[in-house]
């Protein structure tokens, strides 16, 4: 009888461990995705540093890259200085706001759509002269 209880307890323990691991993965997914989101934005910041902002095509490409990151990522707004419009030493702004919606476990058998806001914001001085 004791042996049977031990087996049941072992199974319960393994199930609890698995539930814990699934819970951790559920919680860490948005964090991991935010890291990837920042990495993509960083690469476009390098382009913006060189050009004093982004062109319309580059901004659209950024939005497309971010939305391809994962299902549920939607870019809600961008505030990025347009290339060629910021004077030398002028402040170049680079702000991207997005949301990430995913179905998350909120109870033993209940799933609910949760939305996480992603914001990336950088400001820097334009280092190139604009020749008219």
């Amino acid at each position: 009888m004791d042996q049977m209880v031990s087996i049941i307890l072992s199974i319960v323990f393994i199930v609890m461990c698995l539930a814990f691991i699934v819970g951790v993965l559920e919680l860490s997914t948005p964090v991991i995705l935010k890291g990837d989101f920042d990495r993509i934005c960083d690469s476009y910041v390098d382009v913006a540093v060189d050009g004093g902002g982004l062109t319309v095509a580059q901004t659209n490409s950024l939005i497309a890259d971010l939305e391809q990151l994962a299902t549920g990522v939607t870019v809600t707004s961008t505030d990025i200085s347009r290339a060629g419009t910021v004077s030398y030493k002028g402040s170049v702004s680079f702000k991207v706001e997005a949301t990430y919606s995913r179905s998350s476990i909120v109870g033993m058998i209940v799933r609910q759509t949760k939305t996480y806001p992603f914001v990336y914001q950088k400001t820097f001085a334009h280092s190139k002269f604009i020749v008219d």
Partner: protein, 180 residues
């Protein structure tokens, strides 16, 4: 061998399984998971800080007039340079003007600039002791002290030994861009 014997002798002992499970969970699974999450969090903060410091340095250089590309040297007012640097660092790390964190900041305490130095031509070539990179043109070195709240498990251990915060020292160096 002895452990194996103990387990074999207590194969049907329910309390041993319960205690064993609790010990495995709290002493192995929780610390490992906690450590993985914390390392990932520190990496995110580190990457964000790299970008912020890089942009702040380049913006501060641009904000000064005295850059001389030909001599590859920079005669600058370090107080003014530091003010520009701090201003851009604050904007890019979501800090207040005094470098204390706002609600959106990734760090949990005031950022302290321990080092913000310019190394001119006289010191070249120079190999960074931290990154191992060799610089053949003037460069800036920055050392920041970031305060990051400890994760659940680390916090419990730190409280036991009387430490209340988790410091992370960030070092970054960048050579002076000659194309600005």
């Amino acid at each position: 061998m002895r452990m194996k014997k103990v387990l074999k002798d207590n194969a049907g002992n329910v309390s041993l399984w319960v205690i064993g499970g609790i010990v495995v969970f709290f002493l192995i699974i929780l610390p490992v998971v906690s450590q993985i999450i914390e390392r990932h969090r520190v990496n995110i903060i580190r990457n964000d800080t790299v970008t912020a410091v890089d942009l702040a340095l380049r913006s501060a250089i641009v904000s000064l007039e005295e850059y001389q590309a030909e001599s590859q040297d920079l005669a600058f007012d370090s107080v003014e340079f530091r003010a520009f640097f701090e201003s851009y660092l604050a904007k890019n790390m979501n800090l207040n003007a005094d470098l204390t964190p706002t609600d959106n900041a990734l760090v949990d305490g005031a950022v302290i600039i321990n080092e913000l130095d310019f190394h001119g031509s006289a010191e070249l070539p120079f190999t960074s002791p931290v990154t191992g990179k060799t610089y053949n043109r003037p460069y800036f070195s920055v050392k920041l002290r970031l305060i990051i709240a400890p994760s659940l498990y680390r916090e419990a251990i730190q409280k036991l030994v009387g430490i209340s915060e988790f410091h992370y020292t960030f070092y970054y160096d960048v050579s002076l861009p000659i194309d600005i």
